[in-house]
Symmetry: C2
Subunit: 293 residues, 2 copies
């Protein structure tokens, strides 16, 4: 697999960075994960806007974030990933400089790193039956709106989920279920209202989350942007998580207890279908994916 | 300058790591900064214990943390830093593996990186007059007891301090002054009691902090391990910060307002002298440092 590093496209094994890179020493970096279809990026404008939000928040001087779209598409082409779905990873750090907490002065060139790989579709079971989730304390920092590489709390949460046989760990802060370790969280109340945490510093404002909210509006599903206490999560009729590769994925157990009747619910199914239809409408694949893929 | 990377001692410019290193992608790493005198590490046992605490917390499988003492001393010797004071930086990450939040399975070898440099003594003014500090919101995660490379909040805080012309940023959580961006925080109340935050998940339990607490006990300074509301910090008779290279450093303004009479106070001076005397007792330099150094 070829990767992109600071202007060059080269085999991963030959890509090497300095141990003085500030992402390595300080988690002083940002990233985006995107889906591509037939070599083109999905929702690039939205991902670019979120990256710009992070660059502003961290005052990370990347001069041409818009240019990363071309970088990603060039890398997809170099790897022959021009048909079907692929996953793109983009990372930008504040660059390599002698270790000191404050920003390097003068500024050094940011490190830009990108990888691509074929997209692994969900196993059919995962969508048909839904996935288990666990709750974990939200140990993260207070700027979860910034998609930074300071992901150690997410690593520990996802490892806990894996060891519990779960697909996702849901962060709980002050008794409220906020979002997943790598997804946004939605619940459907018994009265049919769709609830998700409001966009603020405690969540990563997902591109898929926002698209699902738009689709819910269009489908007439009442939406509530509100805190969801764990008790209400457990009492919900349906729960699902969203994300770029997660798409819309039903959660059918939380901490080992079934959600609703323990099967993916109708609102989740409807929103999942609407979301996938929206992708097909915006980025129709030249050769449609096999059923179930 | 020669650095250490995964068993090799080599020039920094030749040291290269994989962009798949989990410290680069996830801040999935730990570090320690130590002082050395005449090529020997100070308080190695304490630093090793803290590193082991982090390795346990993160379940990071470094087989021989004790061996890092030899790595550091070998690197000091390789760089000719065998007389006088030097600063040692040690970092361990969970290693390089294809990007996925959960731990690599099977585990991969941890990445071990170390640097050394001559110690820059405090400018005489900094000690004689004390330093300015500012307060900033504590945006950090809830496992500050783990000395991880997830330091982005510390980076932003230290940058804010620098731009305010201050030496340190003091984190405030729920109205309480917790610690500095790279130091522990102490205050002397007007009644003479020395206050610092109790060791818990919200602070990094500094080696210098613990030594200063022991010295305070020996000197008969009453110690209180307690939360210090910002109002009490501002009303304190004395404030100082501690750390491996910070030592014991008086803070004489907070957010632009003088602490006490705006000069380093007697308790701070006494503890600083006792701390430096303790270093000289435990690790006497073959050639004493020049006065003021």
């Amino acid at each position: 697999m070829l990767v992109y590093l600071d202007g060059a496209v080269l085999p991963l094994a030959e890509a090497r960075i300095s141990p003085e890179d500030r992402a390595f020493l300080f988690a002083d970096g940002l990233y985006e994960a995107l889906l591509a279809r037939d070599g083109r990026l999905l929702f690039w404008r939205e991902h670019e806007a979120r990256l710009r939000h992070g660059l502003d928040a961290l005052r990370l001087p990347l001069t041409d974030p818009a240019g990363l779209e071309g970088v990603a598409e060039r890398l997809l082409a170099a790897n022959g990933l021009v048909a079907g779905e692929a996953v793109v990873y983009l990372q930008v750090s504040r660059g390599a400089a002698p270790r000191a907490h404050a920003f390097p002065e003068p500024a050094v060139p940011p490190t830009v790193y990108a990888t691509v790989k074929p997209r692994e579709p969900h196993p059919a079971d995962r969508v048909a039956k839904g996935v288990p989730a666990i709750t974990v304390p939200d140990d993260r920092w207070a700027r979860c709106d910034v998609k930074s590489t300071a992901l150690l709390a997410n690593v520990m949460a996802q490892q806990a989920a894996k060891e519990a046989g779960a697909h996702e760990a849901l962060f709980v802060r002050d008794g409220v279920a906020i979002e997943g370790s790598h997804s946004n969280l939605f619940a459907v109340r018994r009265d049919g209202r769709l609830v998700t945490y409001p966009a603020c510093n405690y969540i990563l404002e997902g591109v898929t989350r926002n698209e699902v909210l738009r689709l819910a509006g269009a489908l007439g599903v009442p939406v509530e942007l509100a805190a969801l206490p764990v008790a209400e999560l457990r009492a919900a009729a349906e729960v699902f998580v969203t994300g770029t590769t997660t798409e819309v994925l039903p959660v059918t157990t939380v901490d080992g207890r079934p959600v609703g009747d323990g099967l993916p619910g109708p609102v989740t199914r409807r929103l999942r279908e609407a979301y996938l239809a929206r992708l097909d409408e915006l980025w129709p694949l030249r050769a449609p994916l096999a059923p179930g893929a």
